[in-house]
Amino acid sequence: MLHLLGVNLPDQKLVQYALPLFYGIGQKTALKVLATLSIHKTCKIADLSEPQVNQLSTLLSDMKIESDLRKQIRANIMHHRSIGSYVGRRHAMGLPVRGQNTRNNAKTARRLNGRWLKAEKREYSSSTRSIIPSTDSPFESFFNRKWF
């Protein structure tokens, strides 16, 4: 089991299919990483030599993955929320953001869309000084706003 940048990579897994275990690396980026480091496609994690592991570690730390990427995504969505845009409101309500129909079929959006803000709320609620005013529910903040 190779422990790299906060992720456990199982020894018997092919490197090509172990790299997407990192948040922010998919199939294509994994192949690019293999090509850059001249690792053959049937190489397993256990077959990597020490210098290769170091090169891999350096290359991955230069890329935006894991917590850095999550922070960036969260910051982007929070920006929409803080400026009060339509996109921000839809994220807050957990509804489709990109103009999809909601009469039927908004199941994925309802399931997934609020999560970045909830995480943000959890973060801020635990800190002592909270700059952003806390809202009880997205609907209340929508209705309680002064529109005129």
Partner: protein, 446 residues
């Protein structure tokens, strides 16, 4: 076939597991064969007593079913034959395939590889689908065909000429006997005392299964482990002959110095022990054997189509590498294309139709096997390597050859039905004389 029995018998409602029911549903005439794999499995279980020392990781704990396949080979193990399809055979006594017996009088006879050649052939695996036939009927033997006799005459003529003049590619439809003819050529040359470099699966060089490293300041890549394996195989196959040849000058191979007058077998030993020197060892070795005239060299490459298409390795830009960018493949390509030559020797290659993905259109067009539209763009980097190759087509069995093979199968007792003239005609006509189809028709009854 099993499901018909399951539906019609009360076995369906028993508490037996599926595999047990399937086993019970096998017809009586097949049920009592003591198969080779059953004997092997019984022996294998005795060895499993020792406990595993290594701690097992959670993610790959294998689930062991209680009623696991015991006597059934299933899909596991490419070399184990499925006893439901094949009837276990009796070993057949065959004469040896020697230069003296590979003649017109013996056409249609099945001759086995000589005892001196078998250990050499065991260094590398047999071609995959041929191996199936050799696994079924032991010892490994091939029929002498008209094409064998004429081709071996051609190879013997090449004994005294440079290899650049004899670069032959065996072509033909799938299963027509190209790899078999190549094996017979290898056996013939080993018996005749040539230096033989036999590559049974060139695809494994190009399909990204070996580690590769970039050579600094060049666009080339080295495959150290592959080179080391190849060096070891060549050494084991040609040990006695290579003791007679010595290097003509000092050479630097990797971190080692090889002095003038070192035996070639000692040179190869350096490559076996240090895989990072193996590529240099191969280059020096090929140059040395090419420079001497006493012993001719045969380079036999199967699945040569993988030399003429992009490999599955990636450059640092993410583009697929051509075989010329891999140093070991380039070394062989030089000899195949005639850029480098042995003073005495021949290059014989066989294409393989096994995997559609490995076909090389460039090679097929260059050999005249396939015609494409003149507007079709062929790879201009690969096309130059195909100049000057001669194509030899391997036909299907003639009736005489097929009869000889049929008699051999009859002696080996692999037929489920009684072997007779009508059965032979049936198999020969339905398979159109194609050797592979003829074998599956005879052995599996399909």
């Amino acid at each position: 076939m099993a499901h018909r029995f399951l539906a019609s018998t009360p076995l369906l409602r028993t508490s037996l597991s599926l595999t047990a029911r399937a086993r019970a549903a096998v017809p009586a005439q097949y049920a009592n064969y003591v198969t080779a794999s059953a004997v092997v499995m019984a022996g294998g279980k005795a060895k499993k007593a020792a406990p595993k020392v290594k701690a097992q990781s959670n993610s790959f704990r294998k689930k062991k079913a209680a009623d696991d396949d015991k006597g059934e080979s299933g899909s596991g193990g490419a070399t184990r034959l499925n006893e439901k399809y094949y009837k276990p055979s009796i070993p057949v006594k065959v004469e040896e395939f020697l230069p003296s017996t590979a003649t017109k009088e013996h056409v249609g006879q099945v001759l086995g590889f000589p005892s001196t050649v078998v250990p050499a052939l065991a260094q590398t695996a047999y071609p995959t689908l041929l191996n199936e036939q050799f696994e079924l009927i032991k010892p490994a033997a091939l029929v002498v065909r008209d094409s064998t006799v004429s081709f071996l005459e051609k190879v013997d003529e090449a004994m005294k000429t440079p290899s650049a003049q004899s670069r032959i590619v065996l072509t033909g439809e799938a299963g027509s006997g190209k790899s078999a003819l190549l094996l017979q050529t290898v056996s013939h040359c080993l018996s005749a005392g040539w230096i033989v470099i036999y590559v049974p699966k060139a695809t494994s060089w190009m399909n990204s299964s070996f580690a590769y490293n970039k050579v600094a300041n060049t666009t080339s890549f080295v495959q150290p482990l592959l080179a080391s394996n190849l060096v070891g195989q060549i050494q084991n196959v040609n040990k006695s002959i290579l003791d007679k040849i010595t290097t003509s000058e000092t050479a630097t191979v990797g971190r080692h110095e090889v002095e003038k007058g070192t035996k070639l077998s000692a040179l190869l030993e350096v490559g076996v022990k240090d895989q990072f020197a193996a590529q240099d060892v191969m280059e020096v070795f090929m140059k040395e054997i090419g420079a001497q005239k006493d012993i001719p060299t045969l380079v036999a490459v199967d699945e040569v189509n993988s030399f003429f298409r992009p490999t599955q390795y990636l450059s640092q830009d993410g583009k697929e590498l051509d075989p010329e960018h891999l140093k070991l493949s380039k070394l062989f390509l030089n000899y195949i294309s005639g850029k480098s030559t042995f003073k005495h020797g021949a290059i014989v290659a066989a294409t393989s139709d096994t995997l559609l993905a490995n076909k090389s259109e460039v090679l097929d067009v260059a050999l005249g096997v396939k015609e494409v539209s003149p507007y079709k763009r062929l790879s201009q980097t690969i096309l130059p390597w195909t100049q000057g190759l001669t194509s030899v087509e391997v036909p299907n069995y003639t009736r005489e050859e097929a009869k000889g093979v049929f008699d051999y199968y009859k002696k080996a007792n692999i037929f489920f039905d009684a072997a007779s003239e009508p059965l032979f005609l049936n198999k020969f006509i339905t398979s159109n004389g194609n050797p592979r189809k003829f074998f599956t028709a005879c052995a599996k009854g399909i």
